[in-house]
Subunit: 328 residues, 2 copies
Amino acid sequence: MSRILLAGHGNVGKAFHELLLEEAPRLAALLGEAPKVVGVLRRSGAWLDENGVGVGATLLSRRQSLSVVDALDKVRPDVFVELTTSNLQTGEPGASYIRAALERGIPVVTANKGPLLRHYESLTTLAKRKGVPLRFEGTVAGSIPTLNLHEFTLVGNPVTRFDGILNGTSNYILTRMAEEGLAFADALKEAQELGYAEADPTSDVGGHDAAAKLVILANHVLGVPLSFEDVQREGIERISAAAIRLAAKEGYAIRLIATADAATRQASVAPRLVPVDSSLNVRGSLNVVRFATAHAGSFTISGKGAGGRETATAVLSDVIHVLRGRTT
Amino acid sequence: MSRILLAGHGNVGKAFHELLLEEAPRLAALLGEAPKVVGVLRRSGAWLDENGVGVGATLLSRRQSLSVVDALDKVRPDVFVELTTSNLQTGEPGASYIRAALERGIPVVTANKGPLLRHYESLTTLAKRKGVPLRFEGTVAGSIPTLNLHEFTLVGNPVTRFDGILNGTSNYILTRMAEEGLAFADALKEAQELGYAEADPTSDVGGHDAAAKLVILANHVLGVPLSFEDVQREGIERISAAAIRLAAKEGYAIRLIATADAATRQASVAPRLVPVDSSLNVRGSLNVVRFATAHAGSFTISGKGAGGRETATAVLSDVIHVLRGRTT
């Protein structure tokens, strides 16, 4: 039986834990035996149980005081799933946790953007040097396969550039402004009331969140060692309902487009005019990525780019890849 | 060095052969050494060369009379790439070639729809029994990852149904009828002049080609043992320009939609009304598939669904999977 140590039990962590329990029969068929969460680490403590830690009530009892590093040493899991809160400035504490696991030869799956955004080169190099998988599909565009799409399905057809919508909150706001004629402030307020936007919406509407995903995607898919500071970034705060109306009249929508090019090494996140019938013009909180390839034109993939359960499916896919020995 | 035996040197076969030579540096980096085509089999004979068979001039000399089976025995390749002409009625001769290779323990990659359409169960069972990979991404939607998308990137999130446009020729015709007000016969003639449609267009406009891809997709992605005869099929021959105009007035496009559902086991190919702003409403000769999933709503992927070079990228991806030992 494969044993998982899970750090972080918030929105994505809990959803992953639940998904693993729900999917146990299918996972057993696929892997011989369903993997088990034998440890959950939260800021408030650690819960360890070789018979499997439950999602709900079990977590209320048997709390231990144990650091992540001590837990890694004690549990020696088959996979360390790192889903702690993301910090886009430092990548910590996730980066240190991931590093500790890799150094111990323990495979890592994460959906935490911060560590990959700030330490892409050093973390992937460490993983390679140790010969240990480090997978992070969940860091970009939630449930939509982007990193794995490239790694597993476009391996015969290199990606040369991409553009897309990588932040659902800002896309929701732009969609509501266009469809209801709302002002930016009103659409933002609505998004906050619906739980799509944080109390401090800067990261979403300012393009920081999209830029972080762009950096990870550019490093992984284009092989361009881009950093956050290399991305030209402009948010949607100054887009007016009037500008959206004017664009619509000419057959365009305004969308916050993230784009990077392997040849020019240019990358940006900025509001752009997109033809209304373009495959990039997805509505509401959807995400979309269009990959331009060397040999077969462009592909476009769209879907739900956020949400705990949605992101958990990406984490689970990566865990399965690790357990089946599919590593690159 | 990995050695490839290639059967069929038509549109896709030649494009694959060329792509392999062009991509040699990248393949060498990826695999240690770039694979070589050490044999090409055509109806007119066989060309074998352990130093690599060239695409052009080499094929004019050194022809041998050798059956496919004898060539498999003689060459014992690491991968047999089967790209002979597809026969949707019988699946032959491709099915026999594939079977001969699998029985000899030789991995197979194919873009030939006929064998998988007519012998899905027996061929995949034989491959499993022999423990030998059989991969066929190129049989469905050309360059767009569909089978591998499911296999490698949605493994944590089962697909429950799909719908999409799987035939570029009929979509081109419907697009031209809508955008230029052409009658079906005139749009078809234009498609034939541009090389998008065959002299006998029945398979494309009658929905046979789309139904064949649907069957392979349903078997592989939904695990539903559907046969060609199970698909309710209706073509686009009787769609009038007037009907398309009427639909457009109400905000719809008419598209030839292939759909299959794991729960109901129903499958059909038929003209449907699609909202103009739907992700399924792709234009021209593009293909699109929308996968509904258990845990994260729907994904849509679109791109170039046909063309020799486009399909060759799918074949190359599968060859790389085989050579890296990524099999299911």
